[in-house]
């Protein structure tokens, strides 16, 4: 057992922290309140230049090959300043990793480097549909083979980064007669392909700078070479890749929670009421102690899941535990931190209300926490008898 970061991991953590402070923090509130996401897109390019889009991707495809622990600590640092930038980063890394793990050599060479270099601002992960959320195998989007092409029809919702994604990983039914989950395949579809329509952008509670759109496929023709992985193996791919994404989202949640707690702790040691600093009151101390303990525990769960993934061990249960625990700890920390600032916490002059809105989605996306509990208990129950 050895629980310290390596020098390289520390360096990545510091680089992320410095960048977040210098570039992300100054624009985060504006991004939250305005419609213009130009500053975020500019920052995404800079983050690509720093090597943050493919942290766990091989160098030969343009990645950094720094590992999963490095990815996790970087995500946390970015999310401390801007959750919208962080979620874009998380999805981009996940898209790169999906292509790396199931794509053929041509697909890997072509697409991963474009995301890693920032040529594509983002990659899209088009799985969810109006009728297929927690139950993705019930999807209705179809891919029908027509000569040397597949014809896609259907619609996806809640697709992050859709307006500025260069390529989408798209799941569609290729065998309607197969049993549930057995007839789904995975494709790579470039932005701008005729028939791929980026639909309305959702208005959301938080993470405003990250676009969330409907994506419609209307007789969208793609070459058969766009198939990624084996035919009808798509559901397994989706489920497998979401597991790694959970480490990203858990780390993001942790970052927002830490930002909130750091801010509120500093505030409490400056703010006076009843003739003394409010940090002298046990009511406030308790919120600090509970919040920081839970976040530290979340960090350990995340590091453990990342360590297991990096070492080639099973990590589905650990990633689900980390995602569930970290996002719930982060939600609680943001709630307490806002409470510590009192009325000021509710105003937009302080970042707490933004943290509290941004963090809410983390217990929903990348598998709701209810789905995480299904996975955790399934893994535990499988191992007895």
């Amino acid at each position: 057992m050895y629980l310290d970061l390596t020098e390289e991991q520390k360096l990545i953590q510091e680089t992320a922290r410095d960048f977040a402070k210098a570039e992300l923090e100054p624009v985060a509130a504006g991004l939250d309140q305005g419609d213009d996401r130009t500053p975020m897109l500019a920052n995404l390019k800079k983050l690509a230049d720093l090597g943050f889009m493919g942290l766990n991707v091989k160098e030969q495809y343009g990645g950094t090959e720094a590992g999963v622990i490095a990815f996790s600590v970087a995500m946390t640092e970015i999310a401390r300043a801007c959750a919208s930038t962080a979620v874009t980063l998380s999805v981009n890394n996940m898209v790169c990793e999906v292509i790396q793990s199931v794509g053929n050599e041509e697909q890997k060479t072509k697409y991963i480097s474009k995301i890693c270099s920032g040529e594509y601002a983002a990659g899209g992960f088009a799985l969810t549909e109006p009728g297929a959320g927690s139950d993705p195998s019930s999807m209705a989007t179809q891919a029908v083979k027509d000569g040397e092409e597949y014809v896609l029809n259907g619609s996806k919702i809640f697709i992050s980064s859709a307006p500025y994604a260069g390529v989408f990983v798209v799941w569609a039914v290729t065998d309607r007669d197969a049993s549930k989950g057995k007839g789904i395949s995975c494709f790579l579809v470039e932005a701008g392909t005729p028939g791929l329509i980026v639909g309305k952008e959702e208005k959301k509670m938080g993470q405003h700078a990250s676009a969330t759109n409907e994506v419609i496929f209307d007789n969208c023709r793609i070459p058969t070479s766009a198939l990624m992985g084996k035919l009808n193996d798509g559901f397994r791919i989706a489920v497998g890749e979401l597991t790694g994404g959970r480490i990203g989202i858990g780390s993001l949640g942790l970052g927002v929670g830490l930002a909130a707690m750091d801010y509120a702790t500093r505030y409490a040691s400056e703010r006076s009421q009843f003739g003394q600093k409010i940090s002298n009151f046990q009511a406030i101390k308790w919120m600090i102690a509970d919040g920081c303990t839970e976040l530290e525990a979340a960090r350990l769960l995340l590091m453990n899941a990342a360590y297991r993934k990096e070492s080639g061990k099973s990590f589905a249960k650990e990633a689900s535990m980390a995602k569930m625990f970290a996002t719930e700890a982060a939600n609680k920390a943001c709630y307490s931190a806002l409470q510590m600032l009192g009325g000021y916490g509710y105003t937009k002059d302080f970042p707490l209300e933004r943290y509290a809105r941004d963090v809410r989605i983390t217990s929903i996306y990348e598998g709701t926490n209810e789905i995480q509990r299904v996975i955790i208990s399934r893994e535990i129950l499988r191992n007895i008898n």
Binding site: K285, A289, C292, L300, M303, Y307, V374
Partner: protein, 379 residues
Amino acid sequence: MNFELSQDHKVLQESVRDFVNKEIKPIAMKIDEEHMIPDALVRKMADMGFLGSYLPEEYGGAGLDMLSYAIVIEEVSKACGSSGVLISAHTSLASGPIDTFGTEEQKKKWLPALNTGEKIGCILLTEPDAGSDAGAITTSYKKEGDEYIVNGSKIFITNGGYLGTGVLFATHDKSLKHKGVSAFIVDLQSPGVVILKHENKMGIRGTYTTAFALDDVRIPAENLLGQEGQGFKIAMDTLNGGRIGIASQALGIAEGAFERALAYSKERKQFGKAISELQAIQFKLADMYAKIETSKLMTYKAAWMKDAHLNYTMESAMCKMLASEAATFVTKEAIQIHGGYGFICDYEVERMYRDAKITEIYEGTNEVQRVVISKALLS
């Protein structure tokens, strides 16, 4: 970063587990019912090296590290919380401070008998009016020739009834609060050490929890531990390490209850299927397991930090708080999964629930842990 236990730690874990399954698990219910850990079991645990796990070999200890100590207590507590705390209080609260603050002569004199279990150790800190506020102790000492004369009373002394070796805290001037406190090694067979009562408790019923009157107890001057006035610092340092022991105990209790609840949920059928197929039960199992895993990581981390000579004050407070709250949560849910059977003593989870409760209270209440944690964060 490496979260794996080393081969040595895994071997230790296996051997403790085997011992526990053979020697402790079959009698855990009896220990609770009869309010007594059999002396034979204490001897066997001593022979296994459980009573001196991280103490140096030159004084008869097993020469292992803090992580090994945590593993021993965790495994023992999976079957019996009483036996777990006997080890924790003995090692962390008596042998520990003698090893850390004692002179060479003191270590040579006191540690071998503690490490072999010939003497069982305890700490005499708490008093009727000095619980969380340990600086408020009133047990007094004064020097007379080459002896200290001690008078006062001590309560809630885990392992006190063995009348073995104690680390005692007393003040020479209570108006000085914690600055007047000194620590002594005391042979509890000394004249003037009077057992007032053994407490009758909700849980960990196999351990002695003893109240003492100290009536002109004469302690040789050479038994002063550390310097005069250094007692409060010794107490705080001792409790830091002790918290890892209690966290491990709580962790073990939680794991023991979880194992039973998990097995029961697979066997028990209602509505035509195993209750483990119902989401209400699955979600309980997921939440219980996640809390256990979190506590384990934090407890091992605190132990690892102590072994690496890093400052672990905040981590030991965090692991104690997390693990004890996980233990009460998990044991409560384990009873719930068992339904009415959970309330019946035969199923053992009710005992575990009773045993778990104290872990939120002793070795510093969780309220005191929160003071420690927030102080570290605000400083």
